[in-house]
Amino acid sequence: MTGRLVREAVVELRRNLVRTLLTASGVTVAVMAFTLVAGVGEIARNSITADLEGVGGRAGTVALTLDTGAPLGELGAARAADVMQERLGRYGSSAGSRAVLATTETVRRDVAPLPSKDPDELPCGSSTSSVDLSADPDQSVFAVASPCTLPVYAVDPELLDVMGAPMVAGRWLRPDDARSTAVPVVVSKALATQLRDLAHPTLESLLGSVIRDEELVQQPLVVVGVVGDNAVTGALGEPGAGFVPFEARTRFTPTRDRGTVTAMAVMAPGGAERIADQAAGDARALLTQAGFSRPAVSGERIDEAGALGGALRALNLVLLGIALVTMGLGAIGVLNVSLMTVRQRVREFGLRRAVGARPRDLAVLVLCESVQVTLIGGLVGVGLALLVGVVLTLVGVDGVRDLGLVGIVRPAALGLLVAVATGVAGGLVPALRSVRVSVLDALRR
């Protein structure tokens, strides 16, 4: 029966072509406006997200930090790291990295240049020269500018992806770095600034330098890169940090282990806020089970995109509000025309009831007509909005050009859905009116 009524509705609309087109045109404008407005919001969101990802901001990053307050030793640290990584791995993170703070205290250290700047050809530490820091700074080209701390994190190479911090000079750690004779180290920009001296006035000039501390580090560290600072490096520890390959951590003998052992950072798109506390709680429980006494695990959400997303959501809400008002006006137009139509067709409805139509048949008929009008208007509106999108893409408007029509497809689908919903909403009251038509009263008109 419904199929027949749909066809009947088509006939009715064709017989009232002018009215149909006028109503549909109102819906077309509303849907086009809705799609474009929602599309602008979508494109803006995509654009900002892309920009954020370009500079290292992620959809969400969770960092877990374990602070036992007492030295854990190498095995304890590794075990804690494994437990925490296993836990974080359950949250669908798309990237993850271990970072173990192997040693946290260094005072004044030597910095010596290497003959070769190529990190792949780094000789072992023995070829470097050590400098007596008590020497006259004016005569020593190797003296560091001031005493500095050297927190060194043993990290997975993937940490850079998690951090999203840009390389300032040189390169980041590679998986095969753990096998190098001299342990490569990437220093943060803050540490590099502290390490600069007369012989190494620029960050680039530090590349290939050796950081030697016979008390703290069994083997010299060779600087292979300088990484920029960001919220994640800050969250891992002090900004002035060095990063060495995780697998090479056993080649350290930290003289002073503060007990702040492990920091885990994973990217968890969209879920960072939700899982930060949960992950910390889970890790705490697991670490307790693993034998750590009273582990203090803190979960921190680092979410630059989320922070900007708040403002963006507000913008989107405003745009959505405008779009919904537009659609509301379209719905009122449809409602108005449908009500008028029902009023004009009361006699016809009475007749249809007399010849066997059920009340619900009339309701379906009216609804079909209403939805068909809005569907036609919606399709045309979406088509026009896509056309505008194509033109903007061809013209090369920023944001649209880079994202193509992707940003407008979802709003277009939404616009079509809203158009149909508008048809239902606009046709519902008239449909109910048609149900209440009294056959006799209608036939007497």
């Binding site: 027949r4 009524l5 066809r7 009947e8 006939v11 009715e12 017989r15 009232n16 006699r347 016809e348 009475g350 007749l351 249809r352 009831r353 007399a354 010849v355 066997g356 139509a357 059920r358 009340p359 048949d361 056959v439 006799l440 036939l443």
Partner: protein, 241 residues
């Protein structure tokens, strides 16, 4: 199209009252006893406002009696829900109104096919074909694509007759079908109606002012002061030895 399922309509002590705006009650029909047998033609005469149309509306399940029982094939009308009433109206009854009541934006063919849309499972082509056949039987095959406003009054009423008969109803209820037509045209339409109803074997209840036309019915009734009385002069009576 013959062999329709006959229907017995029976009014038992039926009355119909209407509440007036001033609070009074208007008795339109009082204690009506009436039986319409399958296949018979009944003419109902009476002055304007006498209750003829109300009687017809009760018979057509368009309204219920205020008191008494209306039996359709032995089933009391008050036991029928709206769904059942719609089904019965579509399957068993055909209506012809004084002022045709055609859908203005639909062609003659579509008007005739309307009952088939709401009460038939037939495919679109079959419905149109059936409607076209019926239109041909009332002599309007060549006006199938015409809209009501392009047809004369007589032609419009013939379209209405075709619409009433297109589903092969058991009974046709015609409310002054010639009331808006001149004498000759009215006679033509009535000929068509009586002829087709006879061919299909369906009952016909005909409300009319026209004494002359009423003599074409098997039985004549008159509604006076809310009461329905038999009236002499029907064809059935004339056929008696």
């Amino acid at each position: 199209m013959t062999g329709v399922r006959p229907v017995d309509l029976q009014l038992v002590g039926c009355s119909k009252h209407f509440a007036q705006p001033d609070g009074s009650v208007l008795d339109v029909l009082s204690d009506v006893e009436l039986t319409v047998q399958g296949g018979e033609t009944v003419a109902v005469l009476g002055r304007s406002g006498s209750g003829k149309s109300t009687l017809l509306n009760i018979l057509g399940l368009l309204t219920d009696p205020s008191e008494g029982t209306y039996l359709v094939d032995g089933r009391p009308s008050h036991e029928l829900d709206e769904e059942e009433r719609c089904r019965l109206r579509g399957e068993r009854f055909g209506f012809v109104f004084q002022d045709y009541v055609l859908m203005e934006r639909r062609t003659a063919l579509e008007n005739v096919a309307a009952p088939l849309l709401h009460a038939s499972d037939a495919a679109y082509r079959d419905r149109i074909s059936t409607a076209h056949d019926m239109l041909a039987r009332v002599g309007l095959a060549d006006r199938a694509r015409s809209y009501p406003w392009q047809l004369s009054g007589g032609q419009q009423q013939r379209v209405a007759v075709a619409r009433a008969l297109v589903r092969g109803p058991s009974v046709v209820l015609a409310d002054e079908p010639t009331g808006s037509l001149d004498i000759d045209t009215g006679a033509e339409v009535l000929d068509v109606l009586l002829g087709l109803a006879g061919e299909q074997g369906c009952s016909l209840v005909l409300v009319t002012h026209d004494e002359r036309l009423s003599t074409l019915a098997d039985r004549r009734l008159v509604v006076e002061q809310g009461c329905v009385r038999p009236l002499a002069g029907g064809r059935a009576e004339a056929a008696l030895p």
